[in-house]
Amino acid sequence: MSEATAAGATLEIRDLEVAVDGKRILAGVSLAVPQGEVHALMGPNGAGKTSLGYAVMGHPKYQVTAGEILWKDQSLLGKLPEDRARMGLFLSLQYPTAIPGVTTVNFLRAALKGQGKSLPAREFLKLVRDQMSALKMDQAFMSRYINDNFSGGEKKRMEIVQLAVLRPEMAILDETDSGLDVDALRTVAEGVNRVRSQGMGVLIITHYQRILDYIKPDRVHVMAAGRVIASGGSELVNQIEKDGYDPMLRQAGLEVNDASAA
């Protein structure tokens, strides 16, 4: 996998500090994900994993107070979310938002257009249909309002349909595995792997090992209290699976019940 990185870009997060409503959420995160690699980001609830995803994508609530986010040798700070998307970044949300009245197909068309990747109508529809079948989603979802009255699993699959249609260069997948049964998890993982094979970089935020059985990480990072407390190979996953986060927290000088950044 890493041989694909030679010519690729790297998402580089340096000493990133982020606040929400004046409250510090990230306390100096450093992380680098090169294109073509899969990194897993793990850690207890409240560690700041989701906040990191939002900060990278430019959610206005997440104010960067210090540090830097670099992608393609440019600082992302001050850029709008749409500009970050146009630069090839993608964030799959833990809880995708419903937009009543906006059909899936119109949503995808607008997204491609927004990224300057519009396709001829027939080609576009074929692409969407193919990706929906690949994710085992009924074609009826095309004319349904995006995420509106979708089940949790349907929303997650729709995020991966979007990933496959938009073909970003770097994707952050925030708990894409949560709420999926084994079959759905495999379908979603296969979807991610298909896009990944084209050289995309992936940062997978997860609590569990199981999605990492399907999408093998090159590196694993563990976050707690708003910073990265451990980085290593896939052996970290097994360690967490076996002992939980407590030994790592202690090693980082954190109280076990102090894992949250708050």
Binding site: H59, L80, E82, T97, I99, V102, L112, L166
Partner: protein, 466 residues
């Protein structure tokens, strides 16, 4: 002429001013002499003059309605009540200002319609386009002309129904319209005739175009069907700052009438309209009503379900931008048993804009088996915007099923972020959310109107964000 503050007009992106071209203009203000003069110039029969004068009396006696929007800016003495368009002189397309042509371009309005809207008199090419449509209608016995022509050329039918649904003493503004009305449409559909194409106001060629006090009368005989479309999302040009129309619909047994309006007045206009339909046994009446623009709109399309099994629907959408108040809603009166109705109201407010839903649902004691559902949804685009709901229900019958649901939501940061994170600009994202919100309304429109409305909403969003 300026009733509202004049500087409002210059901010109106879609407004335009063609200077003062008219053949005849009445004196400012209202008097029996002015009314008599209007009637004389139109060579009307004596009964109409009498009708107008009586209406004027009602108008003078009625106080200004104080229960709704703020109407204190209206000065009745400053208004010209009759301006005869310069139709004989034939304003040409070349004389239409460039700005308005550009707006038409951006909205993608069809050529023929642009000319109608710009007040350009009949052009050869549009004559050709609509000639066959008009011929088909004539063969079916459908009457479709402006209301003045209706009175002149079809006096029996006209007199039988005119003013029967909305009598002159109904309310102050209906009285005003009854006194000084001019223009509007007259539609008569004979028994069993289905008019397959929507009748659009701009098919009426060589007639007086939309007036300030237009009057529309639609009669659908037994078992007939007609869809009438009035106005469109294009800028409705008005020099005048008071628009007070009356629309009457008579739906005979088993007939089906759909009336679609999308109005986009320039924002100096007080738009005070009375619309009412009566539905006989098993008739269906639908009001599809879109209100954009204007300074103040007060409009509550109503349906009297007079015959057993009749059905009424009111689907409305209102958009209030800065400084605008859209006080709109619906009234449905269930007089007969087993009648059904649906009211769906969608409103969007932005900045200092304000929307109000005002609804009245009444069920008479003998109207058993009534079913009605009322739903009103408001969308606020920012912290400042405001929306109120005033649903009145007056149910005197047993054995009725009535549902009422109301929601107020804000364009959420999360929705915006989600769309933006996929590469869609904030402005476009906001327009998508608003268009999504009014989608249940838009899908009832003919395609070209739907596209036009979507584009118009996008234009309204321009400069409103970011």
């Amino acid at each position: 002429m300026a009733v509202a503050a004049k500087d409002l007009t210059k901010d109106y992106k879609f407004g335009f001013n063609d200077g003062d071209e008219f053949v005849f203009r009445s004196e400012r203000g209202l008097s029996p002499e002015v009314v008599a003069d209007i009637s004389r110039r139109k060579s009307e029969p004596a009964w109409m003059l009498e009708f107008r004068l009586k209406a004027l009396e009602h108008f003078r006696q009625r106080p200004m309605p104080s229960w709704g929007a703020d109407l204190s800016g209206i000065d009745f003495d400053e208004i010209y009540y009759y301006v005869r368009p310069a139709e004989e002189q034939g304003r040409t397309w070349d004389e239409v200002p460039e700005g308005i042509k550009r707006t038409f371009d951006r909205l993608g309005i069809p050529e023929a319609e642009r000319k109608f809207l710009a007040g350009v008199s009949a052009q050869y090419e549009s004559e050709v386009v609509y000639h066959s449509i008009r011929e088909d209608l004539e063969k079916q016995g459908v009457l479709f002309c402006d209301c003045d022509t209706g009175l002149r050329e079809h006096p029996e039918i006209f007199r039988k129904y005119f003013g029967t649904v909305i009598p002159p003493n109904d309310n102050k503004f209906a009285a005003l319209n009854s006194a000084v009305w001019s223009g509007g449409s007259f539609v008569y559909v004979p028994k069993g005739v289905r008019v397959e194409i929507p009748l659009q106001a701009y098919f009426r060629i060589n007639t007086e175009s939309m007036g300030q006090f237009e009057r529309t009368l639609i009669i659908a005989e037994e078992g007939s069907f007609v869809h009438y479309i009035e106005g469109c999302t294009a800028p409705t040009y008005s020099k005048d700052s008071l628009h007070s129309a009356v629309v009457e619909i008579i739906a005979m047994p088993n007939s089906h009438v759909r009336y679609t309006t999308i109005q986009n007045w320039s924002n100096n206009v007080y738009n005070l309209v009375t619309k009412r339909a009566i539905a006989k046994e098993h008739a269906v009446v639908e009001w599809i009503d879109g209100n954009l623009g204007s300074k103040v709109t007060m409009k509550y399309p109503s349906i009297y379900l007079m015959g057993e099994g009749a059905h009424g629907e009111v689907l409305s959408v209102a958009f209030a931008g800065d400084g605008q108040h859209q006080d709109a809603g619906a009234k449905v009166i269930h007089v007969a048993p087993n009648t059904t109705s649906t009211i769906v109201s969608k409103s969007v407010s932005k900045g200092s804009g304000r929307t109000s839903y005002r609804g009245h649902l009444k069920v008479y004691p003998k109207a058993h088996g009534v079913k009605s559902s009322v739903r009103c949804d408001a969308l606020l685009l920012d912290e400042q915007a405001r929306s109120d709901t005033y649903p009145y229900m007056d149910v005197e019958a047993q054995d009725v099923q009535i549902g009422h649901e109301a929601t107020v939501s804000k364009v959420g940061d999360e929705q915006l972020f989600y769309l933006q994170s996929r590469g869609i600009s904030e402005q476009e994202a906001t327009a998508m959310i608003v268009n999504g919100f009014i989608e249940p309304f838009v899908k009832e429109l003919p395609m070209e109107y739907a596209l036009e409305l979507n584009r118009l909403i996008s234009l309204q969003m321009e400069g409103s964000v970011g």
